[in-house]
């Protein structure tokens, strides 16, 4: 779960990491007052996408009236598909230098990784390898202050900035660990009048750990449809094709998209109905697919924990309640396959047993429907 910049910064500040003075505003009048209070400020759209600056999501206001004017333009604007609902008015900084630092988990080594660079201010993906200092954290040891000093030293920092940076590494790692962060990133980490200040911040929390963080604000991300499916507890991503897809298991769902593309079709979504979903959530998920008005709906199930008869019942339930007004291709094998296939057959729905054939048929029907 991503956190808005202003929330990420509040977390940094609560760990003693310096952030610029700032205020959250959601209308022009508040923007005016904020600039009256903190002086010339950057107005930063609070949206969960990178590269806001280039997309016009960060504007500078020298005066309160300019702030009001800009806020008027910015609030409600579309930024890379996200509607801007609030701004963060933040004191303009007199920046001498821009650094980069982040803590995340490397799934290959299964260890926390701290990355830092003197090339801050741009996406770290675009910084060349030789400009990045990477240090793995031994989870048995964690990050003691020396770890920060070693990074500061490797970056070639000195004096006050050496000490502040070393200290910041310790605090950032504590945030990573105590807040169950997937990623905590300060970019740019700026030098202002000889001291470090976190000018921008990203904080992504591990969804699986939210149960132990009642203190962390819940942020919903994605389109209305995506949110709706996430609420059912299923993984869902919108795509731009016309064949709506439901499969069980993330790998299976990916393979289903691959199969559709293989036969020349275009998937409309990624929907992982989970490893053992029962009738009700499966029916709800299918209802979502219907509401997308696709050309075809393709249900691809290999029953393991998922029982084929449950899937069949979910399909019949949707058919009988909201109706399924587009062609439906079902592939159904595995646990309780015979029962599931019979339930569908009794309702006039034929089920495939081969994924290849089913996918080919779904693409064919979508072509006819175009």
């Amino acid at each position: 779960m991503k956190q808005y910049e202003y929330l990420a910064k509040q977390t940094l500040a609560s760990y003693g990491i310096p952030i610029p003075p700032g205020k959250v505003v959601d209308n022009p009048d508040q923007a005016r007052k904020a600039v009256e209070e903190i002086g010339p400020a950057a107005l930063k759209a609070q949206v969960l996408v990178g590269g806001r600056g280039k997309a016009g999501g960060i504007r500078f206001a020298s005066t309160p009236s300019e702030a009001a004017q800009l806020a008027q333009q910015m609030i409600g604007m579309d930024l890379k598909g996200y509607t801007v609902e609030r701004l963060y008015a933040e004191a303009k900084l007199d920046i001498d230098q821009e650094l980069y630092i982040s803590v995340t988990t490397d799934r290959n080594t299964k260890e926390p990784l701290v990355m830092a660079s003197r090339a801050g201010g741009m996406e770290i993906e675009d910084v060349s390898d030789d400009q990045i200092v990477r240090r793995y954290v031994d989870p048995r040891v964690g990050v003691e202050p020396y770890f920060g000093r070693e990074m500061a030293s490797a970056l070639g920092l000195d004096g006050t900035i050496f000490k502040e940076f070393a200290d910041l590494v310790v605090k950032l790692y504590r945030i990573y660990q105590e807040k169950d962060a997937e990623l905590v990133e300060i970019n740019p980490l700026t030098v202002v009048h000889g001291h470090l200040v976190a000018a921008d911040a990203r904080l992504n929390i591990d969804d699986s750990a939210l149960f132990r963080h009642p203190e962390i604000e819940r942020i919903e991300e994605g389109s209305d449809l995506e949110r709706k499916v996430h609420e059912i507890g299923l993984a869902y991503v919108e795509l731009d094709g016309d064949i709506a897809v439901m499969a069980n298991g993330a790998g299976m769902a990916m393979a289903t998209l691959d199969a559709i593309q293989y036969f020349g079709g275009k998937p409309a979504n990624f929907l992982d109905a989970g490893g053992g979903a029962s009738v009700e959530p499966t029916a709800q998920a299918l209802g979502v697919l219907v509401s997308m008005h696709p050309k075809v709906i393709f249900v691809n199930i290999f029953g393991g924990i998922t029982r084929c008869d449950d899937v069949a019942r979910a399909i019949l339930q949707v058919k009988q309640t909201v109706g399924i007004p587009v062609p439906l291709v079902v592939r159904l094998v595995g646990t309780n396959e015979a029962e599931g296939v019979k339930l569908l057959a009794d309702a006039g729905i034929a089920a495939y047993s081969e994924m290849a054939e089913a996918a080919e048929q779904a693409v064919k029907l979508a072509g006819e429907g175009r």
Binding site: K110, P139, L183, S208
Partner: protein
């Protein structure tokens, strides 16, 4: 033979009296798994399907000499269960639950390294050794059969699809391992390939990978010296870039983790990469000839 899990393995089930635990204990027993005990705090002394239930792993191990455990407890309690197993002598640990916090998974995996415990998962369907009539997991029993193919997969249902297609093509399996779908899991393709390398009965290996991470790229390095043919299927060919991995993955992967990167590395290492899951069985038939 088989890898990691054999007919000698003495298995306990942590969380046996829950719905999932009870159901899959039955399935495992039916498959032939030597389930010697179950653990459910506060429910010690009962019997479930003829298997004795204990309050603690400590008592279960003392009484049954178990060396393997499969964990079914809810994710918030999974770390506790894993440590209970590891600290009490369990050496093969299958972690079924999904949604275990990554920090917990790091702690589990780190401790497992120190103690020499093999962790399968978390968020896995488990491990099955058809020729040994034993499984620790939630996979359907009927889709496997004994044979010469080792299978290692990141995700569950997709591996069922492929294992079943192998079985239908007459290609049985030594062992099928589900590494688990979480960011941090106990095994890597490399560690499982090494096991298959040592198993004299495994004559070909199927890798079921997917986009994200760089586990497949790292495996490629090992495939060169494996001495056994590898067939790989990679899911995610049609996945739009960025949608799945997100920024946290991208800053580490830096261009690796894409399907192209994986396919290139595996092909260069001598593995045969097929495009669709239903092409796996035919490719395996060919390399086994």
């Amino acid at each position: 033979m088989a890898i990691l899990l054999t007919s000698q393995s003495r298995v306990i089930v942590q969380g046996m009296t829950g719905n999932q635990g009870r159901f899959h204990t039955g399935q495992m027993v039916a498959y032939g798994t030597q389930v010697v005990g179950g653990v459910s705090p506060g429910k010690g002394g009962r019997m479930v399907d003829g298997v004795p239930v204990f309050d603690t792993v400590r008592e279960a191990v003392a009484t049954t000499h178990a060396d393997a455990s499969i964990v079914f407890v809810p994710a918030p309690f999974a770390k506790d269960a894993a440590f209970e197993a590891m600290e009490n002598g369990i050496r093969l640990l299958v972690m079924i639950p999904e949604h275990i916090p990554v920090q917990d998974a790091i702690a589990i995996v780190t401790r497992a390294r120190d103690l020499g415990v093999v962790v399968i998962g978390p968020n896995t369907f488990g491990i099955i050794s058809p020729g040994q009539n034993t499984k620790m997991g939630i996979m359907p029993n009927h889709i496997y059969k004994p044979g010469p193919v080792g299978v290692v997969a990141r995700s569950g249902t997709l591996s069922y699809e492929i294992a079943f297609s192998l079985t239908n093509a007459g290609l049985g399996q030594t062992t099928v391992v589900g590494m688990g779908g979480d960011p941090v899991v106990g095994q890597t393709f490399v560690s499982v390939l090494e096991e298959f390398k040592r198993d004299p009965d495994t004559h070909a290996i199927v890798m079921v990978g997917e986009i994200g991470g760089s586990a497949e790229e790292e495996a490629a390095e090992h495939i060169k010296s494996l001495g056994k043919p590898v067939v790989a299927y990679l899911a995610g060919r049609a996945a739009p870039p960025g949608k799945r991995m997100g920024h946290a993955g991208a800053i580490i992967e830096r261009g690796r983790g894409t399907l192209e990167s994986k396919e290139k590395a595996l092909t260069a290492a001598g593995a045969q990469v097929v495009t669709m899951p239903w092409q796996v069985a035919e490719a395996v038939s060919k390399v086994l000839r």
